[in-house]
Subunit: 188 residues, 2 copies
DNA sequence: ACCTGAACACCGTTCAAGT
DNA sequence: ACCTGAACACCGTTCAAGT
């Protein structure tokens, strides 16, 4: 997964990189994206220097940890843009996917929105997700079900705000309700 | 301001406490609510132990730092509930006040929502703000302008989500737009 | 009753030395 | 080309000693 952007890596480097990403995912699930890098390196069986070599910033490590999830979102767009998929559900389902994605790890929505206005690997992921959102919106706009002054970035930001709110509501009792409010807000 | 809950404090303790709160406010404005406590203590001219004596947790210090702001919100409710205040603006204006309050310091919305489900001085503030929100809603409901399944806590959470989103949008270009979307979402 | 500041712990980050 | 781990810095938190 997640082909490293640069030139081919030595075999042991590939192994270490993967081990770090896997350890990061486990740590992020358990303790959120602010989990100690020291612990991640240790449970991956590498020194801190190796972690930093592969991921100069925490944001880069987060980007690698969510790569699989982004791939799923890409495939979801293909499904959503299929004619057989009911157009009245498309936007709601996409927003739910987006906010679930940003709710995968504690604090992820924060890192995502912080990165979206900047460079870096996570920033690029954000821009791709905004573009995917815009692609979904294009189809929905044609049905006249959504305000035409809503752009992909708006929906992306609001889906993350939803994820953020849900993250502070462990029961999740009102998550669907908040989604409904958001959908009403952007409906035409 | 902010009468300490317990028994009367010695004069030097009062002075130190106030100095810490003032230093905290400055630090929170500049660096957000995660500003180093060490720096706050230093710029207040006290040792770290003194800071901890008055504020056992960071959340307690944040609560003290926002006391004035909460007082303003209490007065605002009195104004909003005046018959002369146009009922169609009441809810929007209240939500804006709430989200501005949680946008006063970087990361404040996070601390607020984290505290709202727990105890502590900040948790109590949250519960008061939810009650104030419910009081505002009561009047607005009578006008039939708001969904009747929306409760104070919902609006409080959503206003904080708004503050959170605005905090990641330094230009603030779309802040009013997001407020409008939220108001449409909870309108009847 | 309150304050001080040394002390410890935790963790992010770098870098010289290794293979 | 990559890895290791010691080293340093920063900061949260506690506590013995002071007034």
């Amino acid at each position: 997964m997640s082909a490293p952007a640069g030139r081919p890596l030595r075999a042991d480097a590939v192994r270490n990189r993967n081990a770090v990403v896997q350890a990061a995912r486990r740590a992020f699930v358990d303790r959120g994206v602010e989990a100690p890098l020291e612990d991640i390196a240790k449970s991956a069986g590498v020194g801190p220097g190796t972690l930093y070599r592969h991921f100069p910033t925490r944001s880069d490590l987060i980007a690698a940890a969510v790569e699989d999830h982004v791939e799923e979102l890409r495939r979801a767009v293909d499904r959503l843009n299929t004619p057989s998929y009911d157009a009245s559900d498309v936007l709601r389902d996409w927003v739910r996917l987006l906010s679930d994605y940003s709710g995968a790890y504690g604090g992820l929505a924060d890192s995502v929105l912080a990165a979206s206005s900047r460079g870096g690997s996570l920033g690029e992921i954000c821009r791709e997700l905004e573009d995917l959102t815009e692609a979904v919106l294009k189809r929905v706009r044609a049905t006249g079900r959504v305000r035409d002054d809503v752009v992909g970035e708006d929906v992306f930001v609001l889906a993350n705000a939803l994820a953020w709110a849900n993250g502070h509501d462990p029961e999740g009792v009102r998550a669907d309700y908040r989604l409904e409010i958001l959908m009403r807000g952007i409906a035409n």
